[in-house]
């Protein structure tokens, strides 16, 4: 006779993902195989995990089986730059709606900027984000904390206490840390806690009231321009400060060839420097502004074709470490305005993967390279344990069809805001299923025709 003690944990749920093309950018693995998860962890990955007869009826012992039908199974995307608008501007987006958008986009971890209302510059607000993420339970949500109090660029926040509370790094969000001495101290101080300083690399005085890339098009449209030099000089300045302090620096959304060149050189020197870009900087150029389309108003601005090609080149040679969506939800009131008055930014969680796959279909990146920039490398920069398919790793992954012809449709966006310049764009590649913490958090077509039986 046996007694189950009350409250004994039920055995963790086991799920076998069969018949998958396993893609792990961390190890370079690209092969047919299976993944077995138990609870929130991957317990095994490989080509021959199970005896061939075990799954004769597709129902392995005490494990649920999911047939991937030969589709790609890769680590869940780690989007290292999103704006969630919660707390404070929930009419544009909130953590729940952004989580749905992320799951639909194959994103299992997103890292929020601290430019909310109030600004995340205090331990209690870092805790707030963690608590909301747990409550929602659809994606992992981490947050950067503000590097300076109120994002005012003057006084350092409690970096140490917030690092201990789980801040992923420090940044002033969409504002540059403009003062060289503040940047110096932030880099120096954050180094003690092993955290990165993420810079919005744009010299604010030079960018001024600019609304788009400075050049012929801006001049013809009669719009104030933001010269590429605003980005280049800030990156170059910051690299000097990295050299001085030994700090860890990450340049967000680089958009110019010369800034990328400066980072390439710094990496060769051995400085602790990384950077990311966003899909619009390789998928679009300044001509997308066209006839004052405010959905093409982003910060930094879309650059000219030479810079766009330099971004592609930077991704191809690995100078650019990561691709982040730079998801920036804005409601219509903020975009239906004269171009100069409209808000900067576009949403991106749901278009991150298909736009990145364009680089693969065009032959610029290998599939594993693109996936690395979307998962393994941002996870490594931030010290997250995800971003890889390996025993013991979190069971966070995306199952996708890399070739499926598709079209980006605003109507399908789960984000509360719809500000995307990519509406109607034909793409190749679609997310079929997103698994986070061992649970299916998105399944293509599931909401239209709930078949049940598989997944959650």
């Amino acid at each position: 006779m046996s007694f189950a003690s009350p409250g004994a944990p039920t055995p963790a749920r086991r799920v076998a993902y069969l018949n998958a093309r396993l893609l792990d950018p961390a190890s370079g693995m690209d092969m047919a195989g299976q993944v077995l998860t138990e609870g929130g962890r991957i317990v095994d990955v490989g080509a021959n995990l199970f005896p061939p007869d075990l799954f004769r009826d597709n129902a392995p012992d005490n494990a649920e089986a999911i047939d991937c039908k030969g589709m790609c199974l890769a680590p869940g995307l780690v989007d290292m730059r999103v704006q969630l608008r919660e707390p404070g501007e929930e009419h544009m987006e909130n953590m729940a709606s952004a989580s749905q958008a992320a799951a639909a986009g194959g994103v299992t971890t997103m890292v929020a900027l601290p430019n909310t209302q109030p600004v995340i510059d205090d331990v209690s607000l870092v805790e707030f984000v963690a608590r909301r993420a747990r409550e929602i339970g659809v994606t992992r949500i981490r947050t950067y904390a503000a590097a300076t109090k109120g994002l005012h660029g003057k006084e350092l926040t409690e970096l140490g206490l917030m690092a201990e509370t789980g801040a992923a790094g420090f940044t002033d969000g969409t504002k540059a840390i403009a003062s060289a001495v503040v940047m110096r101290r932030a880099l120096s101080y954050a180094r003690m806690f092993g955290k990165i300083i993420v810079q919005h690399p744009e010299e604010p005085a030079l960018a001024g009231e600019g609304a788009m890339n400075e050049g012929e098009i801006a001049s013809r449209l009669g719009l104030a321009g933001i010269p590429p030099a605003a980005e280049i000089m800030m990156v170059e300045r910051d690299l000097r400060l990295v050299e001085l302090t030994g700090g860890r620096y990450h340049a967000a959304h680089v958009s110019t060839g010369e800034a990328i060149d400066a980072i390439r050189k710094a990496k060769r020197q051995g400085l602790a420097v990384t950077c990311d870009t966003a899909p619009h900087y390789f998928a679009l150029n300044e001509t997308a502004v066209g006839d004052y389309r405010t959905f093409a108003k982003v910060s930094p601005p879309l650059r000219d074709e030479m810079d766009r090609r330099a971004v592609v080149e930077g991704l191809a040679d690995g100078t650019i470490d990561a691709i982040a969506s730079d998801h920036a939800p804005h409601d219509q009131e903020e975009k239906r305005l004269p171009f100069a008055q409209a808000a900067f930014g576009i949403i991106g969680l749901e278009t991150l993967l298909p736009l990145s796959l364009e680089l693969v279909h065009n032959g610029h990146l290998k599939l594993l390279q693109a996936l690395g920039a979307l998962s393994h490398r941002p996870a490594a920069i931030l010290g997250f344990e995800g971003g890889r398919l390996a025993r013991g790793a979190p069971a966070d992954f995306v199952i996708f069809d890399p070739d499926k012809p598709d079209r980006i449709e605003e109507a399908r966006f789960r984000s509360k805001s719809k500000n995307s310049p990519f509406d109607g764009r034909p793409v190749q590649g679609a997310v079929l299923r997103t698994v986070m913490d061992g649970r299916t958090v998105f399944e293509a077509g599931a909401e239209r025709a709930k078949r049940g039986g598989r997944g959650d």
């Binding site: 300076t148 109090k149 003057k154 006084e155 350092l156 926040t157 409690e158 970096l159 140490g160 206490l161 101290r185 120096s188 101080y189 180094r191 003690m192 302090t245």
Partner: protein
């Protein structure tokens, strides 16, 4: 350079005491040995000596100070000297007189020793070049505070019987501290192992070239230490400029029971004062009579300053003295 007279006696061969850097172990021991003789005298009911009788000592303080000025004043008076205090509020500096004009004016009054504190590094040396008397640096900017280092050394030497072979951790605002610099020079000269513990923003550039071990993790920095010297952190430096906040500073760099546990079980605690309780040091630790040497440091301060005043006064007629090490 030798600190021995032809007869083999130690001595201090300089006209001024401007800093510790450059002094030899023998010279430092000579100053400490003389200081030692005054510790007992200061504990007696009759504390009065006469070796400075007829001497005029001017405490010239361009920067506010109560403790150091009082300590020098008592030291001079206990040896029978005439001590005059000039602080910035009563001086003519506020009327626009330059530092050198002030020095020349005072020099014309024939003082024997000037004790000078100034907020600018190097100001005391500049002044010393313009006067005929002896000058003691009572603290210049972020440069040196030699009598503080000497009184710290005397305190340690009396408690531990030696300076060499000990490990001392100096913790806090190293970048702006003259106390830290003078102590680093003195302890290094005497064969003490010196560590500095501070957030990166409060470490001066190239501090590793001072012959110290550098730590930004306080527990690791205190591991195996015999002596912990806490430094005062000025409030204007902990509001987001060098350090984010008081509570964060205390969390990572404040000396409390928990961090103290990393040091040797009998490690002793020092602080040059005045303390910011709850910023760099927890009251429980600061007031622990078994561990805290803070009151003893104040006592040793008077003895050290008596010795310094007396030695410089003895040297005064001697024209063969060098100006500074």
């Amino acid at each position: 350079m030798t600190a021995l007279r032809p007869g083999g006696q130690r001595h201090y061969p300089y006209r001024h005491l401007l800093g510790i850097e450059g002094l030899s172990p023998d010279e430092i021991h000579f100053l400490l040995d003389r200081s030692e003789t005054y510790v007992e005298q200061n504990r007696r009911a009759d504390k009065k000596g006469s070796s400075l009788r007829g001497r005029t000592i001017i405490n010239l303080f361009f920067e506010n100070s109560t403790r150091t000025r009082t300590s020098f004043e008592l030291a001079g008076k206990r040896l029978g000297g005439d001590v005059i205090n000039m602080s910035v509020s009563t001086s003519s500096i506020k009327k626009g007189e330059t530092l050198i004009d002030t020095a020349m004016t005072l020099n014309a009054m024939h003082p024997d020793v000037l004790v000078v504190r100034h907020s600018e590094s190097g100001a005391v040396k500049l002044l010393s070049e313009k006067v005929n008397c002896a000058v003691i640096n009572g603290g210049d900017g972020s440069h040196e505070h030699p009598t503080q280092a000497l009184l710290d050394a005397l305190t340690i030497r009396r408690r531990r019987g030696r300076l060499d072979g000990l490990t001392v951790a100096i913790c806090g605002d190293i970048a702006h501290s003259r106390v830290a610099r003078s102590n680093i020079h003195l302890l290094n000269t005497m064969g003490t192992r010196v560590r500095v513990v501070a957030p990166t923003t409060l470490l001066p550039n190239s501090i590793d070239r001072f012959g110290v071990e550098v730590f930004t993790d306080m527990r690791r920095g205190l591991e195996g230490c015999d002596i912990i010297m806490m430094l005062r952190l000025q409030t204007e430096r902990m509001k987001g400029s060098f350090v984010p906040s008081i509570r964060e500073y205390f969390r990572f760099f404040g000396l409390d029971r928990e961090k103290l546990a990393a040091a040797k079980p009998d490690a002793l605690i020092m602080h040059p004062g005045p303390m910011n309780r709850g910023t760099e040091i927890d009251s429980e630790v600061a007031d622990d009579i078994d561990r805290s040497l803070i009151q003893e440091q104040v006592e040793m301060g008077v003895a050290v300053r008596m010795a310094c005043l007396e030695i410089l006064a003895e040297n005064l007629p001697d024209r063969s003295l060098r100006n500074a090490p």
